[in-house]
């Protein structure tokens, strides 16, 4: 089970990268990048999971709070990262839009304005 969960994470990363490598469209490439990143989220959340544990939110104060909750730290890392990566993806898509306007095509292999 352990290998399966983390294997899914690694698979997402590799498949996303594969998408960028064989991409014929810039939007497709940027979305593949987002897929690669979602692999990291699966890994992080998977690392923090505990069987039978409850969410890390407490209803009432307790002198010895219940430690039988899932790991809040990875959740904190993931949630900020999700929001932030949405804007970085927006940034890359903005570049793709402008390229399409200037070039008329979004095929990354046809972009030849930078070449040796």
């Amino acid at each position: 089970m352990t290998v399966y969960v983390y294997g899914v994470a690694a698979w997402l990363l590799l498949v996303g990268a594969f998408g960028i490598v064989r991409s014929h469209d810039l939007v497709h490439a940027v979305v593949s990048l987002a897929i690669a990143q979602s692999g990291t989220y699966v890994l992080l959340i998977g690392v923090g999971f505990q069987r039978g544990a409850s969410p890390p939110v407490f209803g009432s104060p307790a002198r010895h709070p219940n430690l039988h909750v899932v790991d809040p730290v990875v959740q904190a890392m993931t949630l900020t990262d999700v929001v932030v990566s949405a804007t970085v993806t927006a940034l890359l898509l903005a570049i793709a839009i402008q390229i399409h306007k200037r070039r008329g095509s979004t095929d990354p292999d046809e972009l030849t304005s930078i070449e040796q």
Binding site: A10, P61, P72, V83
Partner: protein, 262 residues
Amino acid sequence: MSRRIRLFLFCTAAAAVGALCLLAFFDMPSFGSTDHPYRNLAIPAAVAHATSNVVSAVNLDQRSLDTFAEESILIASVLAVATLLRRADDERFREKGGGRVIDSTVLTGWIMLPIGLVVGLDVVAHGQLTPGGGFQGGIVLGTVIHLMYVAGRYPILRRVRPLRPYEWGEAFGTGAYACIGIAGVFVSGAFLDNFLPGGSFGTLFSSGTVELLNGAIGIEVASGIIVVISRFIDQAVGIEPVRDDMQSGCTSSHTTAAGDDV
């Protein structure tokens, strides 16, 4: 490099990397185990500062510098989008007429708008108590206002969403976070110290600076998302080239000050 060679190179390398990861996964602690040392330290620390939502405590109290970096990334990306999608010299802004939207969509939009706004504000305000917080609530607020666009009321949206106040909102959110941090330096000698009184656990006014930082982030994220989405919509709906040919030629092209927003 031809595509075939590129694919071959990538697949070979990715297989090697995948194999390495697989070997590593066999050494990982088992999925769902009980061994989480950071959690065992984070929870008492959160409770000591009267914050019920431990995730918010980790984000805004214990690892507040990380969140500061993340919100800076957000404002950087929004600024970059605003820069990249600005109206260039050879373009102009002209509003095109809206398409046809069916009545049920319009009705749903009008109903969902106030509900969404309230939900978003609630998620932001109660970030220290229940799952949620500035990031999540900010996204809700930022996107729900665009129901106006979905409901085919783009002109209303443009009037309701002049961009400058939202850019200021974004600036205010980031600036407030930084200033609260610097205030911590002057009050207790540590940047981003949680120097406000904790209040009683589980009530609205608890957790010290966590709720203030939550609010700042909520304002920033909501404003930032509105700016980003509106720039994209403007590109799709409003901006068109002035001339037929889009080559700007060799003329030294000063881009306009982006005063195209209303």
